[in-house]
């Protein structure tokens, strides 16, 4: 048992322990941890509140990046954001969700994504759904 590598020891933990460990992390950090191994990819953190915005998904600080106020989020960042949220929700297998918040500048071209997220919120019986289609400077 002792000559197993640390990753094997960590990975042999029961799913609920791995979920519990991930639940102490931010969304971004939990995703990074899930890259560690095949097994971890499908481990879902116990997170009752999901919050997707410029910072939690792309780790962009709005003020630092868009300080002059008139710049738009790049097409590339928008595409990363919607794909990232989609991926996260696709592999989300929690039982219940208290709140889902998406705060990002999304337009008509993203209706397909937004519809999917709303459907997800309904399926998860989410109590609070918060969609803001602009990037607020506070985020």
């Amino acid at each position: 048992m002792n000559d197993l590598k640390p990753i094997d020891r960590l990975t042999e933990m029961p799913d609920d322990i791995l979920s519990f460990i991930l639940s102490f992390l931010s969304i971004r950090d939990s995703v990074k941890a899930r890259i560690l191994s095949r097994r971890w990819r499908y481990i879902c953190p116990f997170m009752l509140n999901l919050d997707f915005d410029l910072h939690t998904v792309l780790r962009i600080n709005y003020k630092a990046r868009y300080s002059n106020g008139d710049s738009d989020i790049s097409w590339e960042d928008k595409s990363k954001f919607v794909t990232g949220v989609d991926q996260f929700l696709e592999l989300y297998n929690g039982q219940k969700l208290l709140s889902l918040r998406v705060c990002f500048c999304l337009g008509n071209e993203h209706t397909g994504y937004v519809d999917r997220w709303i459907r997800f919120a309904i399926i998860m019986k989410t109590e609070k759904l918060d969609l803001e289609f602009s990037v607020s400077p506070e985020s």
Binding site: P6, I7, L10, I17, F24, L36, R38, K80
Partner: protein
Amino acid sequence: MSSSLEKNMLILRSSDGEEFIVPEVVAVMSKAIKNMVEDECASNTIPVPNVDANILAMVIEFCKKHDESEAEAASDLKTFDSEFVNRGQEALYDLITAANFRDVKELLDALCQNVAEMIKGKSVHHIRIQFLGYQLFEILTSNFIWNIWCDRDFD
């Protein structure tokens, strides 16, 4: 069982046969042991399978401290916890396994939070080095699905 055993004391026997005399209030911080005691299916000696003496001693140390320090300042306990969980990964995983099977919630919280701290704020690259050492390539390709989330970390 040993008639000299004081009241309200229990004997815990590790998987490798070592016995620890522990106050009942400390032992029942393990919910699994608490259930056994409440169901009266425990004699004075309670076997703790899958947990060796080394790990069991650590678990008891943790529970004793938490039992004693209920009145103490929460910050002292926090300091104790952070020192307690500051161990090599091997011991950490053994302790998590023990805390999970024996259902010692406070210990499990402290340990899992500590593993999370090892991940927190680190780049994918650093997490890999920390937990994997060299087994990088298979993992890179097997998890391409998440790359959107992480490419900034390769900066």
